[in-house]
């Protein structure tokens, strides 16, 4: 059996905790992890419990716990080995296997955690802080019930309290409550007027038209009733307009507050939040979900209330008019309710199946169209079309089943059932009319009332769905609003006004997923004004290192100091303002060139913008555009080459005048002339600034005061270009000679080809995690 625990410390089974209790107290436990595969490769239920001096292994065996304790001092080395579909924690001493524990991937994280702690105890006997929790990362399972959380939701839909959530939405409407109350009152009056209409039919027919026994037609009376009806109609017209104005207005006000609040909150969240979610899903939360809530707030709530009131009012009217006839007339109602419940279920199930096929079909399209060049180049159009037709037919078949099975029958059946009420009125009422026990006016009024029944019943039947949908949307929004940023400024954070730019990394380790470490105990220091080049094969951890210095993430272990102060003690926004970043593929926003240059400093003067562009060697090409600095770039704007974009982003950084500069060099080669212009610009930018450059170009590598060569998250070499170049068997020397070979093979002049760029570099390729 696979056990259901994600946080083993809190969730050790009770009988195991009891078994441990006299000897091992909860406070002694450093880490615990469930392990679920036994030595024969079968599922099992077991736990590893680590204290500061020993490791306990417990395995359930016929209601007993098989126990084995292992002194940590006897363990020489702990390693996590990847298998196919599992992780193995292997404990050895002098090459001798002491124990091996196997985990399905479900427990990979807890296995990694226990491994980390074990390593620490074995290594220096010191227990460190474990990974910082990242509250804004998407959870896989619900903490409360252990259910898997769907991709579209932030929290377990089974555990959410719908009523509470819906009240929370209405809370957003508090400032505009008068409109809501107004809309509600108008809706009440309108319901009353709506019911009055059929009610008036009875006196109109019985007395005005003289259908009642002993009555004569009286046009004066007819005119009076028609007048009242017409008056009511006019009133309802006005009322409807007023009600819609009030309720739709209320809805838009509420959705505006929600929309703005969620967008501003999203910008407070850190990169780990965005890394675990798709941009499209976030966009739909800001747009679709708020739109759905708008509909809910502005119409659904009132519709439901009106539906209940209408049913009630119509029912009362019927019983007051003729309670015996009412009893017969309402007979089909339970039948209608029953039909709705049955079909509701069937329709939903059929719809899900259809959705599944539909997704399969759209996947083919989504897959093929971006690759249309490849399809054409290999002339595989027919295969793609066949694939689509196959899925399309599967969808068609499912649709046929849906249509014939439920969809085509439901609405006619409902109409039929409601028609039964009308038949009843004529059948029973007609007989009583012949007997003289009721009047024609009553019968026609009943018919009028019956037409008012269908809609509210339909609405109430769908109420559950509508509430669910709104609650889901609301939940997705509130979950974001309730997410605390993982990176935040501590209270009393230090101001970063005069940063000189000394950077020091002390024993920094990091993992994105809590399982695989991408940096291992990295330490180095950069003096103010120095330039450090980070080199090494892709997947080495260069980008991660830069992410930590910018504080996009916090280190898992160790510290990063800027001017001797832990980056976590600075105000986040403040410290980032002092760090300039030039990215590999610079992002340009839709806007003019000038706006893009002064993105980080919107108050910059024209003079400053031009000066920055000149320093970045961008002035000349910008002036070549007909609209010069007013040229629209970015999406749907003037298209710029890679070299041009880069120089704009250099200008951006120059204008910002940061104390620390992060440079992620472009790997794509540009022509020699452009290369020279970029180099010049970079030289101006990096002069007298602490620079950490992810370096690929020989020119940058040579210019760096020091190079740090990273491979698989470990600092392999450190020194100047000259020192490392001549180091026999050095990783850097090897990368360099490979680069030179490549250059001479291609016949490239000028040393442009990248070292250890995101291309393959022989056998030293790292795990490759492009963050």
């Amino acid at each position: 059996m696979v056990s259901d625990n994600d946080r083993p410390l809190d969730h050790l089974p009770e009988d195991l905790a009891q078994e441990l209790s006299p000897e091992v107290l909860p406070d002694d436990v450093v880490a615990a992890a469930p392990y679920d595969i036994d030595a024969d490769g079968m599922y099992t239920e077991g736990y590893l419990v680590l204290t500061s001096d020993r490791l306990g292994c417990f395995r359930r065996n016929n209601g007993q716990w098989d126990t084995r304790w292992l002194g940590v001092a006897t363990i020489g080395k702990a390693r996590v080995v990847d298998g196919l579909g599992m992780k193995m924690l292997r404990l050895t001493r002098d090459d001798e296997l002491l124990a091996e524990y196997r985990f399905t991937l479900r427990h990979a994280k807890s296995a990694a955690r226990i491994h980390r702690q074990l390593e620490r105890i074995i290594g220096d006997g010191e227990l460190g802080e474990d990974e910082p929790s990242r509250p804004d990362e998407k959870k896989l399972r619900c903490d409360k019930c252990g259910r898997v959380i769907p991709a579209w939701s932030e929290m377990c839909p089974a555990c959410m309290n719908r009523r509470k959530i819906l009240f929370r939405i209405l809370d957003f409407g508090r400032p505009y409550i008068s409109r809501a109350v107004g809309a509600f009152v108008v809706a009440l009056v309108m319901t009353g007027m709506g019911v009055a209409q059929p009610w008036l039919l009875r006196p109109l027919i019985d007395h005005g038209l003289g259908a009642a026994k002993g009555a004569n037609p009286n046009y004066g009376l007819v005119l009076m009733f028609v007048g009242i009806m017409a008056g009511l109609m006019v009133l309802r017209l006005g009322g409807q307009i007023l009600q819609l104005r009030l309720s739709l207005g209320f809805g838009t006000l509420v959705s505006r507050s929600i929309r703005q609040k969620i967008y501003s909150h999203i910008h407070k969240l850190s990169l780990s939040f965005f890394a675990t979610r798709q941009t499209g899903a976030l966009v739909s939360r800001i747009t679709q979900d708020t739109e759905r809530l708008w509909r809910f707030v502005s119409s659904t709530v009132i519709e439901i209330v009106v539906a209940f009131l209408t049913l009630l009012a119509v029912g009362v009217c019927l019983f007051v008019m003729d309670w015996r006839l009412a009893c017969f007339t309402l007979l089909p109602i339970p039948l209608m309710m029953f039909l709705m419940i049955v079909f509701h279920k069937r329709l939903r199930r059929a719809f899900r199946q259809m959705w599944f096929r539909w997704e399969q079909m759209t996947a083919v399209v989504a897959d093929a169209l971006p690759g249309v060049r490849v399809i054409k180049a290999f002339s595989q159009e027919k295969r793609e079309v066949d694939r689509f037709e196959q899925r399309s037919t599967a969808l068609f078949n499912e649709e046929q089943r849906y249509i014939s099975g439920a969809r085509s029958v439901f609405a006619p059946l409902m109409l039929f059932a409601s028609g039964l009420g009308s038949i009843m009125v004529w059948l029973v009422g007609g007989w009583w009319l012949c007997q003289g026990q009721t009047s024609l006016g009553t019968l026609l009024a009943f018919q009028g009332f019956l037409t008012m029944f269908l809609r509210p019943i339909h609405e109430i039947a769908h109420m559950d769905e509508m509430f669910n949908r709104a609650a889901t949307s609301a939940h997705r929004i509130f979950e974001i609003l309730d997410t605390e940023p993982a990176i935040f400024s501590r209270t009393g954070a230090t101001k970063a006004d005069d940063i000189k730019g000394r950077i020091e990394l002390q024993n920094v380790s990091f993992s994105y997923d809590g399982i695989r470490k991408v940096l291992h105990h990295v330490s180095f220091a950069v003096e103010p004004g120095q330039m450090i080049g980070l080199a090494g094969p892709s997947g080495g951890g260069k980008t991660t290192l830069v992410n930590l210095i910018c504080r996009f993430y916090d280190a898992m272990e160790g510290r990063i100091l800027i001017d001797g102060v832990d980056v976590r003690d600075y105000d986040v926004a403040d410290v980032r303002r002092k760090i300039g970043v030039v990215l590999q593929e610079p992002f340009l926003f839709h806007g003019t060139v000038a706006e893009n240059i002064c993105y980080g400093k919107p108050e910059a003067t024209m003079d400053e913008i031009i000066a920055a562009a000149r320093a970045a060697n961008a002035n000349d090409f910008i002036l070549d555009f007909p609209d010069a600095y007013d040229t629209i770039v970015g999406e749907r704007g003037q298209s710029l080459s890679g070299g041009e974009r880069q120089r704009i982003s250099i200008a951006r950084a120059i204008l910002n005048d940061p104390a620390v500069l992060i440079l992620d060099e472009a790997t794509s080669s540009v022509d020699t002339e452009t290369e020279k212009l970029i180099q010049e610009a970079l030289e101006r930018l990096t002069a007298d600034r602490t620079t950490v450059a992810i370096a690929h170009r020989l020119s940058t590598l040579r210019r760096s005061d020091r190079l740090i060569v990273l491979d698989k998250g470990v600092v392999m070499e450190e020194g100047t270009h000259e020192e490392l170049e001549n180091k026999p068997d050095g990783l850097y020397a090897r990368l360099l000679s490979m680069q030179r070979e490549a250059q001479s093979a291609i016949g490239l002049a000028g040393g442009v080809a990248p070292v250890g760029a995101k291309t393959e570099v022989g056998p030293v390729r790292g795990p490759g995690r492009g963050h």
């Binding site: 059996m1 490769g41 090459d95 259910r147 898997v148 839909p157 089974a158």
Partner: protein
């Protein structure tokens, strides 16, 4: 020599890759490989499947502990029995890929499908979401990948009992 060429295309082939002659157990249970053209056996080698799912029984890579390929093994028939046993043991021991025998429970809630199944490794409960979780390896063979990236193989849809088949019908 393993000098294979693919059709008449001179651009592809396996060159002079060494052959695996024999495998044996070394110290601490490590696997040692005797390769053609080498005097010393390679110690602590790993066996990795080229196609873990589409062709689990063929195409193995013999690699060093730090991931460098030493040789390719495509036909277990060339090995003696002891070596073959080592291969089979290693492949089973270093992989955890339960095969579904029977579906005990199937449910779908909020777009998350939960399956309780009897597998050749014991009973398992797993959850997956969306269409990406199921991969058809053949019209009757499928691979389920759960939310934690564990895989569960369904070797043959037609070999399932009727109830299990009804639960999984939609994927085939």
């Amino acid at each position: 020599m393993m000098d294979r060429q693919i059709d008449d295309n001179p651009a592809v082939g396996f060159g002079d890759a060494p052959l695996v002659i024999r495998l044996e157990r070394g110290a601490a249970g490590k696997v040692m490989a005797h390769l053609s053209g080498a005097d010393e056996p390679a110690t602590d080698v790993k066996l990795v499947r080229y196609f873990p799912w589409s062709m689990p029984e063929g195409y193995l890579s013999v690699r060093t502990a730090d991931g460098k390929e030493l040789a390719m093994l495509t036909d277990l028939g060339v090995l003696d029995e002891a070596s073959r046993e080592i291969v089979e043991f290693e492949l089973r021991d270093k992989a955890f890929n339960p095969k579904i025998i029977r579906i005990l429970e199937y449910s779908n809630e909020f777009g998350i499908t939960s399956i309780k199944a009897e597998t050749d490794r014991g009973e398992a409960i797993f959850q997956f979401r969306g269409r990406h979780a199921i991969r058809l390896l053949s019209p009757t063979r499928a691979l389920f990948r759960d939310v934690d990236s564990n895989t569960y193989e369904l070797p043959d849809f037609n070999a399932l009992d009727v109830t299990s088949q009804r639960h999984l019908q939609r994927y085939f």
